[in-house]
Structure formats: C-alpha cells, structure tokens
Subunit: 308 residues, 2 copies
Amino acid sequence: MDVVIGCDVGGTSIKAGLFSPDGELLARRSAATPALVDEAAYAVVTDLLASMVAEAGADSVVGVGIDTPGAVRADGTHLLHYNIDIDVAGLRAAVSRAFPGAATCVMNDGNAAAAGELWQGSGRGTSTFCHLVLGTGVGSGVVCGGQVLAGAHGCAGEIGHMCVNPEEERRCTCGRRGCTELYASATGIMRSYREECERTGAEARDLSRGAVAVLEAYVDGEPAAIFAVEAMCEMLGRCLATTASVLDPDAFVIGGGVSAGFDVFGDLLRERYRAHASEGCEDTPIVAASLGNDAGIYGAAYGALRLV
Amino acid sequence: MDVVIGCDVGGTSIKAGLFSPDGELLARRSAATPALVDEAAYAVVTDLLASMVAEAGADSVVGVGIDTPGAVRADGTHLLHYNIDIDVAGLRAAVSRAFPGAATCVMNDGNAAAAGELWQGSGRGTSTFCHLVLGTGVGSGVVCGGQVLAGAHGCAGEIGHMCVNPEEERRCTCGRRGCTELYASATGIMRSYREECERTGAEARDLSRGAVAVLEAYVDGEPAAIFAVEAMCEMLGRCLATTASVLDPDAFVIGGGVSAGFDVFGDLLRERYRAHASEGCEDTPIVAASLGNDAGIYGAAYGALRLV
C-alpha cells in the first residue's frame, strides 16, 4: 500500500499524519518539539514517522512533506523563523535517509494549511482562495489557480502581517506596527479584552482556556468582549478587503483555534468585510475551515504528493 | 501575413495597434472615443481597425483584443465602468462581424497594460509581478505564474483602490476613502500640491502640463512639491508593501504618464516601500514600465493571441 506522510512541525509540538494518496487519514502521531538542530533531534521525528508507518502496515512511503513556521522559498530554502529552533535542511536530509525513495518537500505552515484545505477541506474545488489560521499568531496561505503561492522570497500569503492600522503604536512580533495579527490572533483578542477591562475597570474573566472565553463573554454581552470581537472583525475585515483588491479570490477560509467560534463572529466579520470591500467583490464568501488543526498535516502530505 | 490587433478603448481616445504574432508593432491608429452604444459608434472602431489592416497589407487577422476601463470577468462580462459609456458586448459582436475568423477578447485596461509589459515590456520573463498605471487614476494588473489574474468578479489587481490610509476623510472616485489613487495618480499628486500651496500660502506653479510640473518643482526643492511627492511615495510604498504581503511578487512595474518622472521619485518610493515591507521581501525590485502608453494595445493583442 502506497502512503504519504504530512509532518507539521510547530513551536511546541510535532504532528504527523499518514495518508492514502487519495487523501484518507490512516494514522496520526504527535510529540513535543525538541530543538531540531542535531541528528538526535532529527531521530525523534524520523522514529515518530517510522513507528506510525510500521503500525499501519504500509509498505511504500512515496512522499514526506514537512511544514514549519517561517518563510520557505519555492526551492525549499528557509528563513525568518521566529518561534522555533530548527535546521530545516538537516531535518529534511534525515527524513530522506529514513525514507529512501520518498519525495520530500518543505513548506511554510500557513501555506501547508491552505494546501490542506484545498486538497480535502473547505477549499476543495475552489481555484483561488485565502486561508487564515487564527491561532497564537495569524498564519495564512494563498491558493491561486489551484496552486499554493510561495512567492519570490517565500513570503506570499503573509497577510497576518499586513498593516491594517497605520496609526497603531504597539508593535507586532514581526517588529512592525498595525498587523492583522495584533487584533485577530487568539493572543490579540485576549489582549484587546484585557486592556479594555483595565481601561473600564471591569473584572476580566479567567482566560486560561484561551480566546474562546472571550467569545463566550461576547455572547453574554460583556462590553469588553464586544470591544475585542469588534476590533478583531474590523481589522480582519480590512485585511480581507485589501486582499480582495489584489486577488479577488473565490472565497476566504478561516481556520485555526479561534475559528471554533466562527458561528459567533462570522456574520460581524462578513459585515465589516463588506463595508471595506470594493463594489464587485463585496459578496465574496467567508467560510470556516473544515480540517481544523489537521490542515497542516493534510497540506504537507499534499505538497509531497504533488512531487511524486 | 498573420496579424493580431490590440485596441485600447479609453474614456477620451481609442488607440489601436497592429502586431505580428511575435510582438512587433507594425502600425498604429487612434481616434476620439464616441459613446460606444450603437452600431454607428461601433463602426468608428471597426473602420479604424480595418483601415489600419488594409494599409499594412495584412491578409489574415487572427485575433482582436479590446481593453477598457471597468471590471471584466474571466468570461468577458463587463461591469463597474465609471468614466466611459460603452456596451462591451455590442462592440465585441461588431468586431467579430468585421473580422470573421478572428479570436476576440475583452480585458480590463489595467490588466491589459500588465499583459503588455509581460509580453514585450519590463515584465518579460518575470513570473509574478504587479503593474501600476499612474495616470488620471491608478490602474493596475497582477500577473501571477505568467497569467494575468481576472479574479472571481473581474476585480483582481485593483490595488489603486486599496485603502492605505484608513484615517482619510476625502473620498476617492470609487466612493471609498484612503485609496492609493488619492495620492499616487497624476490627479492626486496635483491635488496634494495645490492643497499644500494653499495651506502654506505659497504660489502654485502652472499645472497645465500635468503632474510632471509637480515633479519638476520637486527637483527644484519647492516645499509644496516635496510634500506632494513624499505623500505619493509614502502611500504607494504602503500599497506595494501590502501587495507583497499577499503575493510576494518578483517585481513591481510602474507605468502610466507619471512614470515619465520615475528617475525623480523612484529612489524615494523604494525607500518608503522598504520601510513598510516585511523582512524577506524588502528588496523586491521596483522598476519603470518600458512600453509607456502602448502597454494597453500590446496587452490586448497578447490577450487575443493567447486564444488563437
């Protein structure tokens, strides 16, 4: 049985999935992410993948795709990785040795998630769409004409770091100001909520469960949560409208942990998008992603499969 | 001899070019634009094209491409044309009757100019680039993977109407606020200059020759012109940096009448782009277009040629 592996290497955990070539998820593994800079650490990854393959009884691994934060150029060279200690070339070489004969590829994590949604998720059958991952940060990927764009420097689809508020004083993790991520990431939503609670003297809810608690407070009509969710939708609406002026995509697909609350904020996001979008593309569908946190492993596997 | 025609239908004039299939411009014609809504007016266009073909002694017109303002969907349907009175379907039918056997296509003017630069201009050999036409407005087109993007609603590459200044109070021709066009079109540059002259009590130069007079005043160190050109470069720099966060193109190509002064403002534009671009794509080349006002006829011809 031919199989393909998708391996999503994040700052905290490594997730791996084993797929049939037609996109069925056969098995899944995860592990904590070590500093991926030496052979011992690479072996953590290759052992994880090998045990998954062995247990599934697969006899031929035709491809292994790896996705990771940072800019990855079309040729697979890697730069600008902020939250992870990784030597991508070394890891890829170790994977190639462990699975001789398998095609390997390296992708940016936002691009992989977009590719996953294209292959088996909400983007299926859609020629051109933008996929956003609203998580700790805002990752994103652009699919254009059925291809995930890498860009000249591996920086295409970085709309989480699009400036949507030039007047902003606070800095984003990327060092610049007014990025979408400042308002629409889980971190950003929680920060907006806390700051508004402080400003108004309201007592903040326990946010140990993350941004979902702010969305619950929004449903309950808590003013600080209304402020945070409105800021998120306004800034994300600007970001999507600006993206539409470049690409005029068939759809926007919203994923990541925050998208679990899409039913709560989706209509407001559509309303803010429409307020900023140019006539002609104001009705572009904005939908929730369907693969959730698995989008990356699907997309990494798909990337490798396209090389086979 | 096989030939292909490109016909650029603007608000004031119609420009037509006759090309060999390998892109040599063999002849050229122009005429004032009538209200293109009836057979008599369509005949103005078809007679112009037929006389150009006859004089060149061409015996086989294989394609006729037409470009015009407004959004043109991939299927050729036309909407949102603000500054021109035109029935595109009627004109196209008249052209088809006048040149039976020729492939015909209709394109947005910004997209045609981008296609022209791709075929025979500064974009030649470049896979992904954005082309801007700084004229009365700011037209633009996006080439991605060697294809001009139309977009789901014919609105791709409308970055002249990207909002780069959400705090702006004045409205753009499109009805929204803070569009690139407000600052970087010839009209916008002249308006910035005049307003700054009024504000400071300086005497404004005669602008009957257009924005080029403001660029000359900038070279002479006139404060109001410095204000206008800095505003133009700041806002256009934001627009290109934002576009890079979506596409990370290989290059930006600047055309239109204002680009005649590219030597004057190019370095400042590059500096403002770099200030806003994300790490990784801050060195994207920004170059002047090489086809000038002929980009549209080249691109319309190229569009038709690709259907042959």
